[in-house]
Symmetry: C2
Subunit: 302 residues, 2 copies
């Protein structure tokens, strides 16, 4: 049984999910958050469904030591490719993603009969058609324009922001058709992208609804906690809300210093170096849960 004082567990391929953490800290001031960034195996956006599903299952299996009351898959690629299979594998854990909340906001963003909705995301998210399916469920007549924008994450990870000419040129290339065809709404289908919102806004103009999946996701989590009766409230915490910093514990599969260095840009406050959980811990856990010493290595000859 989950309890309101249990933490929310947020997982991502790297640092992007920290934009979701930021939104959760704002929206839910009494919650504790455990963050897991799979920095040894990032990015997920160019990898396949079976590989990403396996990674996410390993991380959620690992999360159980924290007794999370809710798990947020704060990575669009992982939400798009792995969510149904992961939910089936952990029926006792409440798990939500970032695609459904973003799609709901996109479907409601325009009063037009046949709104034109743009979606930018990683290669894998676009290929999965997850946004398309989720939006059409709610607005059958929506027209969609989807573009994979694989350079935005490495640009942001390199520290480039809204005034960088390379960012500007990449965005102009990627958004060319969308601005020409005058989209009504634009879904930022990757948790890194809110960091480029000012540059994106400059290019698409003031009339386009720019949908930040991190914020939508936080709203969604808030509603789910209330529904499950596990939301933390001031009364339960017996005191005022703690500082953001003290409500967050973080774990990564590689390079804790990098998160400490770059995290502030996503979170708005400096974080201490997170705890390292190298990938072998996750694979050893696989072996343990199967009750096997080690699976047979298939014989492959040259």
């Amino acid at each position: 049984m989950s309890h309101p004082t249990d933490p929310i567990f947020v997982l991502d391929s790297g640092l992007g999910g920290l934009t979701v953490v930021r939104a959760l800290l704002d929206r839910l001031p009494y919650e504790r958050i455990v963050y897991f960034g799979d920095t040894a195996r990032l990015p997920y956006g160019s990898k396949t469904r079976p590989t990403i599903t396996h990674f996410v299952k390993q991380i959620i299996g690992w999360s159980e030591r924290h007794h999370p009351k809710h798990v947020v898959v704060a990575c669009n690629t992982a939400s798009a490719l792995a969510l149904p299979e992961v939910r089936a594998a952990f029926p006792h854990i409440h798990i939500s993603g970032v695609i459904e909340p973003g799609a709901r906001a996109a479907a409601g963003a325009s009063g037009k009969n046949e709104p034109l909705i743009g979606i930018i995301a990683t290669e894998a998210t676009i290929r999965s058609r997850a946004y398309e399916i989720a939006i059409r469920k709610r607005r059958q007549r929506a027209r969609l324009l989807m573009t994979a924008t694989p350079l935005l994450v490495p640009m942001i990870e390199e520290g480039r922001r809204n005034d960088d000419p390379l960012v500007e040129l990449a965005l102009r290339q990627y958004l060319r058709q969308m601005t020409r065809d005058r989209i009504d709404a634009l879904v930022l289908g990757c948790t890194h992208y809110p960091l480029l919102k000012p540059a994106i806004r400059r290019i698409v103009g003031e009339d386009v609804a720019v949908i930040d999946s991190a914020q939508q996701c936080a709203e969604d989590v808030a509603a789910r906690l209330v529904e499950a009766g596990t939301a933390a409230t001031m009364g339960l915490m017996m005191g005022p809300a703690s500082e953001d910093r003290s409500r967050l514990s973080a774990f990564v599969t590689d390079d804790p210093d990098r998160l400490a260095r770059l995290g502030a840009d996503f979170l708005g406050f400096g974080v201490e170096a997170p705890t390292l959980v190298p990938p072998e811990v996750l694979y050893q856990q696989d072996a343990g849960s199967l009750g096997l010493p080690a699976m047979t290595v298939p014989e492959i000859s040259a």
Copy 2:
């Protein structure tokens, strides 16, 4: 004991090492090559030494089933960070990398007393100072200008090439100081970069020696095989050289189709989909070689 008919094993984080394969096929027409691309965990360039060293050890451990007469670490990041430790772990295997051959060529590229040598590479390669150390061993008075160029790999992987305005702008930014200070030689310190050689040449001009570590690496391997007495020759193979295609077998940890789709750009000929070796096979091998069912998972509390 190695035999001349044993294959050369080439490993890389992804597809970049195929430029080394291309150079090896040209330089050594009687050799068979086994290629391994760690596509589930790529890129290596933003990750740490312990993580990359572990990945490379796993792959070389796996390579032993092919009885390679020589292993090439065809990734600058992995060569820079892992080579000494990996050689110590596999003393019975001949292992070489791409840094030493590139550094040797850079040190010899200019007749000047104090040549100015530029190096572009991934973040991790630059941070390791491996090129600096290897060049200074040979040319103590060389002056070095080093720049991390983390966007070039994702640009190439997205399919962008020499005439793309974004590639042009990124190169102009990254090479600004080098062109201003008039470098004598430029080391392409990542196996992907030779695909952008025409654009790089356009920016640095005809007078700069552009050093392609793939070609230097193939020369180095040829010399090492002769020295070890394991070079394959026409006589040994009892017939004419086979087609390039039939001399190469490939393995990847994710997305075999991607290599089949993008490989031709690196190799100059189409490849069949390689065989999938998912990462869990490598971790199971760790467990097996330790003779343990599974190491103890450290207890970490929230």
